[in-house]
């Protein structure tokens, strides 16, 4: 369906609208137009206008996660939210912040740091606040601080029909009404376009130290994990990393001086021979190494595995063994404390990738774990369902979508079960 830009500008009043190009593509589909409204009213008018005409809209911020999910069934308008940015209110004494959805996460953290606070999220691919919520990606510190869903207090959004609505509130404790912030977390923009969010904050730790032991197998890491989580120490991160012939089990402590050092030292005792404490530049280098799993090249396959502590080691071990057999290189970073892992296969051929993914997914689902593919070449995406089986709750999810977006305006076909 072609979008008449002139008509769109006249009827929505949005001043920044241009033709879409291949640079605006989402998983191969190119939109007719890209619109960048500067206000919530503009977003509301745009959605109302598009919804009436049966046009499909995909919201974006920094575009870092447009490769997530399945290719859209329809795609007419890329709704760029980057102009909707800025902190609306930072209530430092209340440990809350209300911020516009187009704000970059890094900018928000810089602002919060001035008052010695931070939003306790560390997603693998930081983008905007809206994207953070829509994808719901959590990072290593989820172990200590919870996921995005646990930190989001309130959300304002524009529905597919242009109506502005709000759920949750601005205070840390609130049980009035349905928990729409939970519903919107991880919903991939399929229920509404997030325009504003309120988060719960934490004090920014001033000191960090990491206890690490290297050259460990998945099993050894699992044993170390068990020792640590039944001890008195309270780390912020528990990671197992394995790539290119090296492996490490790392336990991070963040807070104030004495507690961090005492706990790091105690952890080294628990970890035994070869364990050491890193801080400063050495420590940063280790965590940079781990983050390298995310630096995919064209042709790589990147997937996220969600499991439980007792099942993860076997899943990872089998994945490594099968990958070795097929001659492909695998890098993995597992947040073993809460059993979420990132796996990156380095440029596998389609013939090699498909059986590896199929096998891992089957094993995962057999123990109620989940494998979701985040990045992959088109060939593989066409033949391997990125989301995994949803089971019986899919029907309920479809019904929710049908209520919120009956005309399928928002991100149609990108989400689970073809939603």
């Amino acid at each position: 369906m072609t979008v008449n830009i002139g008509e769109m500008i006249a009827e929505t009043g949005i001043d920044l609208i241009r033709e879409g190009t291949s640079n605006d593509a989402v998983l191969g589909a190119v939109p007719g137009v890209v619109a960048a409204p500067g206000s919530v009213e503009g977003i509301s008018r745009l959605l109302s206008w598009a919804n009436e005409r049966g046009l499909a809209v995909i919201p974006c911020g920094t575009r870092t996660k447009l490769d997530r999910g399945t290719p859209p069934a329809r795609y007419d308008i890329l709704l760029d939210l980057s102009r909707l940015s800025g902190v609306i209110e930072h209530a430092a004494g209340d440990l809350t912040v209300t911020v516009r959805a187009g704000t970059r996460l890094d900018d928000l953290q810089a602002e919060l740091a001035k008052a010695g606070q931070f939003l306790a999220v560390d997603p693998p691919v930081p983008g905007t606040v809206g994207g953070l919520i829509a994808c719901g990606d959590s990072g290593p510190r989820r172990f200590r601080y919870g996921g995005v869903r646990d930190l989001l207090l309130g959300v304002s959004f524009v529905r597919a029909d242009g109506t502005l609505a709000r759920g949750g509130g601005k205070v840390v404790k609130n049980v009035a009404g349905y928990d729409l912030p939970k519903l919107f977390t991880g919903a991939l923009g399929t229920l509404g376009v997030i325009v504003e969010a309120t988060f719960r904050l934490y004090p920014l730790p001033s000191v960090s130290a990491t206890a690490v032991v290297s050259g460990v197998s998945e099993r050894a890491a699992a044993d170390a994990l068990s020792a640590i989580v039944t001890s008195s120490v309270t780390p912020t991160v528990l990671d197992y990393y394995a790539a290119a012939g090296e492996s490490h089990f790392a336990v991070r402590f963040e807070g104030t001086d004495l507690p961090v050092w005492v706990q790091a030292a105690r952890t080294v005792e628990l970890l035994g021979k070869g364990a050491r404490v890193l801080s400063g530049e050495d420590e940063n280098a280790l965590w940079r190494l781990f983050s390298g799993v995310m630096q995919t090249e064209e042709g790589d396959v990147l997937a996220r595995l969600s499991s439980v502590r007792s099942d993860l080691p076997a899943l990872l071990k089998r994945a490594r063994a099968e990958t070795n057999e097929s001659g492909v290189e695998l890098s993995l970073r597992a947040h073993v404390g809460h059993a979420q892992a990132l796996l990156r296969w380095h440029e596998p051929s389609t013939e090699a990738a498909l059986p590896l993914l199929t096998s891992l997914r089957a094993q995962a689902e057999a123990c109620s774990s989940r494998l979701v593919v985040w990045r992959t070449p088109a060939d593989v995406r066409e033949r391997f369902e990125v989301w995994g089986s949803m089971g019986e709750s899919l029907d309920l999810m479809r019904r929710v979508k049908a209520q919120f977006d009956p005309r399928n305006t928002l991100n149609p076909g990108r989400f689970v079960g073809g939603i």
Binding site: D161, K173, T230, Q340
Partner: protein
Amino acid sequence: MERLALVKELTSILGPGGVISEPEQLLTYESDGLRNYRATPLLVVLPTTTQQVQAVMRLCHAEGIPVVPRGSGTGLSAGALPVAGGIVLGLSRMRDILEVDLPNERAVVQAGVLNLSVTQRVAPHGYYYAPDPSSQQVCSIGGNVAENSGGAHCLKYGFTVNHVLGLTVVLAGGEIVHLGGKSVESPGYDLTGVFVGSEGTLGIVTEVTLRLVRRPETVLTLLAAFESTDAAGAAVSGIIGAGIVPAAIEMMDNLSIQAAEAAVHANYPLDAGAILLVELDGPRVEVEDQSSLVEGICLDSGATSLRVAKDDEERALMWKGRKSAFAAMGRISRDYFVQDGVIPRTALPRVLREIAALGEQYGLRVANVFHAGDGNLHPLVLFDGSVPGQTGQAEMLAGDILKVCVDAGGSITGEHGVGLDKKRYMPLMFSSDDLDTMQMLRCAIDPERELNPDKLFPTPRLCGERPGVYKPHPLQEAGLADLF
């Protein structure tokens, strides 16, 4: 179907012990913890399995009978108040702990399991279930799920929704769905998160997968007295500002202190304008580090006395005073209403002044107990119901206090839920578009409003409607017709 036939049908599903139909026995179920609301249910059913719940829901769906789910009946918002002509479905006979998985820190329990029972089961192994509402000895996990219950340790440990990973739910038509599971996240909509706090309006939860937490190495409890709530509030600000997240900070004003002392003799200083109960937990080195900071901050804010509990017994006594504060009101007043407002913590001094002014205006006393960490204020409106008109006055004062909380940027409920009691205040917090949007969820999940139909939302939304931006009919626009 007429009542006798219904009883017969339900008895064939649940057995004779599972159906309550005698009027004297129905009395127990006519109210929950909010005893000024009473209604007689048509019948009460007490299933023991998810399949039985399904069979009951199918029957009720076919017969058009509304259903009100009930846990232990300790709720404080009339959420389990029976609906006229409806059935109460009690989960109290489903009280098995189905699985304890310590390596993964999970427990799977039936909805009728008591909150404290979970902790009691895993405590010998060094674990506990963190959400600890004051009623935890009697309230059920299912009830906690319905209300998203909190407790004193919310600031550090969160609420029920942060500790529930999966649910087994029976929907209005009898469909059974399993949501979530043991892993922290699964793709798709977070329906588990949506069902928690939905006050029994979306489905009947029969099983819950819970997250367990490791007991901290050290717990330190400190009682500080101040000349005023302002001074105590300044101490709290100082503690938060110092980057400390205590496990709990509770504040009580003079009136609450008086009541608590009269009831349980917790050794609270009777002349204090306010007391703070601060609890720190974590690794010993961290707690020690923080406690010296906290003590210093309290003293800098003008603490007139400071005491650290020297053993578990003393700690329990310090908490006993706080936990019995509501019940203790009976010592200093014939009747009282507990309110459950939330405010941004920094607004406390202003809000307390406004509440005091309102109290004077109405000529009624208000005692204040405050979860200072998370801003959850429990104003206790004290009155004498035997004085004509005073109950109504007290209700109005309670409502005005809620308005003050919302105006300050807070909420009408921090933990008790909306239920029936606070339905009318929902428009204080949410616009009609907001309420409409929330009800879209209900339309997706319980379109015929068979579950707890009269709770939560002041104005029901018909599910066939298409809400949103109003579009005039072309005839209207042409001036040829009008809408009445």
